[in-house]
Assembly symmetry: C2
Homo-oligomer: 333 residues x 2
Amino acid sequence: MKKLINNPDEVVKEMISGFLYAYPSYLRKLDNVDVVVRKTSPVDGKVGLVSGGGSGHEPAHAGYVGKGMLDAACLGAVFTSPTPDQIYEAIRAVDGGKGVLLIIKNYTGDVMNFEMAKEMAEMDGIKVLEVIVDDDVAVENSTYTQGRRGIAGTIFVHKIAGAKAEEGAELEEVKEVAEKVIKNLRSMGMAFTPCIVPAAGKPSFTLDEDEIEIGIGIHGEPGTHREKIKGAKEIVAELMDKIIIDLPFRDGDEVALMINGLGSTPLSELFIANKEVNEYLLGKNINVYKTYVGEYMTSLEMSGFSISLLKLDEELKSLLDASADTPAFKQFK
Amino acid sequence: MKKLINNPDEVVKEMISGFLYAYPSYLRKLDNVDVVVRKTSPVDGKVGLVSGGGSGHEPAHAGYVGKGMLDAACLGAVFTSPTPDQIYEAIRAVDGGKGVLLIIKNYTGDVMNFEMAKEMAEMDGIKVLEVIVDDDVAVENSTYTQGRRGIAGTIFVHKIAGAKAEEGAELEEVKEVAEKVIKNLRSMGMAFTPCIVPAAGKPSFTLDEDEIEIGIGIHGEPGTHREKIKGAKEIVAELMDKIIIDLPFRDGDEVALMINGLGSTPLSELFIANKEVNEYLLGKNINVYKTYVGEYMTSLEMSGFSISLLKLDEELKSLLDASADTPAFKQFK
């Protein structure tokens, strides 16, 4: 295992330290818990947005804390849900009087811990609502999930709910638009190689030199099947066929598109995938309104990528276009 | 070789296509040459900035074309200089009447081709100046270089010269500030694993499972030496010792810092490196004014990273702080 680390057991702690050194004008850490909040938290008169999850998916989620997106991110151990205590502290730190929305990826541990924290905060009189993101169409249940998994499409929920909250909307309205995003969002990924959790020191699974896994999860959970490697065009078509039919996305729809690298796939290859996705969508007369290509939700150094499609209406377009200024997601209106 | 591509010989062409699909509001491609320019080029009354180099370093350089940075990027074949014809077309496309500055990384082929293009454009009556970036302190000469190599610090030249040009400065002034950046800029990198040029299909060199290479170039050119793997703190100290002494950076200096991932090093590990660099600099009483952590100039899927330090004065701070809006580098003032 060749990693740029000091001690496998200190990876999250040291990463947070390096993260705070990089963005002192954006962020601060809460005392004694691995929670990162906006420097200015709580923001008075704004609904607070809290997300988080296991570490190892950087820049998710701490990279999305900032103006126009999240108020707090809770960082669990690598591929492990944050604890209820952590999430509870995050909720308390960002409640500006209008309540807090939790954005949870659908993994059993995450849902359980976020909901426990919600109950704890409600006992303090804080109004808390939640949404659960389950954008991955690959499999219905998996290693860590009942139902579908939440993957990179979650960034669209951060972005759009974040823009709504920034406008001064009420908690119920922010929740409503987050649910609209989730309802219109579909994703799917694939991998060329596994990743290595630092504390484990070896890959959690193996793939042959000519083998890929379709529908894999962001923790290396099994996908739909393995197959021989093939070209970018064929891989994209296989993922898109499953994504498109699921909503379904239809002739004339407008979409936001995210091509998300899982860790070690070069940006040049993600752009080749983007070409293939665009040509696929042109063939279906689906119009791409806005595109994001990069590493938004990774799996350590896994090689592979995911595609996320969000069907847009005028409200979602306007909120997606709003400016955002966070360490990992900056956009001018 | 497991890559997300269709045909090794079509990688650059298809990448550019996917790039243009992603950023139609920022960019357009010139007819018949692999040159990407701002959608609105030429910008009247603004010095044009042209950079470029071999492909395989994405998002460099096409990702930095946009407001506050470059006007054009010339994309060569993977790890191969763009041709004089390409660069000449780029110069012609972005000259807004105030002349054009070429920002060249110091590789023999690049320098030769950019200078030939400069002469061709001068024969058309276009005023062209050039700067050559040679920030890599690792080695004095290398596989593709006479003198020092230009690596990730080049992004600081794009940013600061770009901000100066955006202010309406004259060509000589833009060149002068670019040279000030180069004079105060030092970088060095290391690698855990090699990368695979698609058309070659296999790694250009190998490293043992417990071996790293210090001072490696962004094309896998030899560094200073190989050694057994060690912790992030020790690796950082080895690079920093060489960087710091070279300028030298001194007690009381203010710097901009870039921790640049070479391709497959997880962002979490780059943040651990950032922690170590910050602690190293604290120990020397050198103050970090602004930090950039991410993949700015990659080597396909190479695992490793580089550190760039730029010594700042008030002028450089102000230009570094200016807003920028390009596909790969966005910053609010």
